[in-house]
Subunit: 284 residues, 2 copies
Amino acid sequence: MKQVAIIGYGPAGITAGIYLKRNNIDSIIIGKDLGALDGYTDLVENYYGFAEPIPGKDLIANGVKQAKRLGIQVITDSVISLKEIEGGFQIGTAKHKYEAKTVLLATGKTRTTINKPGFIKYRGKGISMCATCDGYFYRRKKIAVVGCGAYMLHELEYLNRMSPDVTIFTDGNPFHEEVSNKVVTEPIISFTGTDKVTHIETEHGKYDVDGIFIALGIPSSIEFASQLGVIVEKNNLLVNENYETNVPGLFAAGDIIGGKLQIAKAVYDGMMVADSIYKYLNKK
Amino acid sequence: MKQVAIIGYGPAGITAGIYLKRNNIDSIIIGKDLGALDGYTDLVENYYGFAEPIPGKDLIANGVKQAKRLGIQVITDSVISLKEIEGGFQIGTAKHKYEAKTVLLATGKTRTTINKPGFIKYRGKGISMCATCDGYFYRRKKIAVVGCGAYMLHELEYLNRMSPDVTIFTDGNPFHEEVSNKVVTEPIISFTGTDKVTHIETEHGKYDVDGIFIALGIPSSIEFASQLGVIVEKNNLLVNENYETNVPGLFAAGDIIGGKLQIAKAVYDGMMVADSIYKYLNKK
């Protein structure tokens, strides 16, 4: 039985592995194929230490290499099940089963894309997946934010700082939050434009926009975490100040626990959760 | 008058500048000449995103380039004074005076080196300045930690995890803390060895060691911060949950506020304090 299984090899998972190793604790890190890392295809400009913007995928690949160089076992596979067993957990992938005393969920959040004509064409040309990353470029402009849940509200708060003209598009979903913004609940038909996006079209309307922010995210491993009875709050796994969920020995870090969806925060989480896991294992 | 003056262009200061810029707030960042960054000459292995270890100085230089590329004003100069003026602060360097509504202290902590024969020769060859960085290489070995204050105790806690054989050398300073470690209070005469350090010599003793950790750090800008009446606790500037000191408009982040002396933590601080400064400026 391993000491620690880390699910997810993004910034939080890899950093946790590195700091655990420095505490003399071996972990196995299991991550999805890089090709699946859809949320990380854009250029990273905010993360400290890179003179030039780095493609998100390259950063993830660097992290995996960094961990391997330090002697940490990193495996590419998809975790499909997680259950409690005597003294720990069993982690199932399509090919194997692993056992570990503790598990760290660090899968990130899938930034759900939107399947509408024009989305692929204008992504990066007026359509963005991250307000904190790109909001600045649309200050005092006409902004649309697409979504209806907690993540949309999180992005909205930031976008409202940038511009007085931010409209919410719920794409057909009901919306009952109190906001001072305009809200369009009609389903979106398409995104249209010239060399960059200029309009959102619905059945009865055509709306001028300078920038569109897609904010439909839902956590990717909420499902199997909830199978274990992990408390989920507003699409985030609920953890205490030690990054431990309500299931003893099951920790979570990074985007999946909410807060700022930024690499700097995921890395910080990874460092801090390593400490907590170390203490948990030594208490036993 | 500028909106924000950031003193220090290490990870915390640069990250704060980047996130402030994304919030549409211009800052000026003033940092010491890179040559003075003594604590950063070693290789960085723990900070996420680099497949190969990166020299600390290169990382700092990357950060400065990153900020400049994003249009942030970065200046190399030594801040020698800081005082409150109507509506903000005046920051004095040898050559200029700057005025800003808010100030972020992000100078880091000077990791004081020790002026004894053998220190330069064996630094990196058994003598280390960072337990979290290098402690792992001395697990179950004979370790010495040199220091007598809060920072030494912080390093000691970590080193005690690595080995049951950690001795404290106070280099002539009195020591009244309760620890279970052996304590040598005699002044250190020299560090000796072969191709790597093997002994600490005092007037009456010669002690076998595998690794020596220097932990004499004191914050570098405590002095002028205390001139403003900033509360200092255990060699750290005291800040509230918004990274604000007891002087309104004066913020601090990174190593200087204590906690983990790690780049990941300084970067996280920088991101978070940017939010606080943004809110402070908008409240006004």
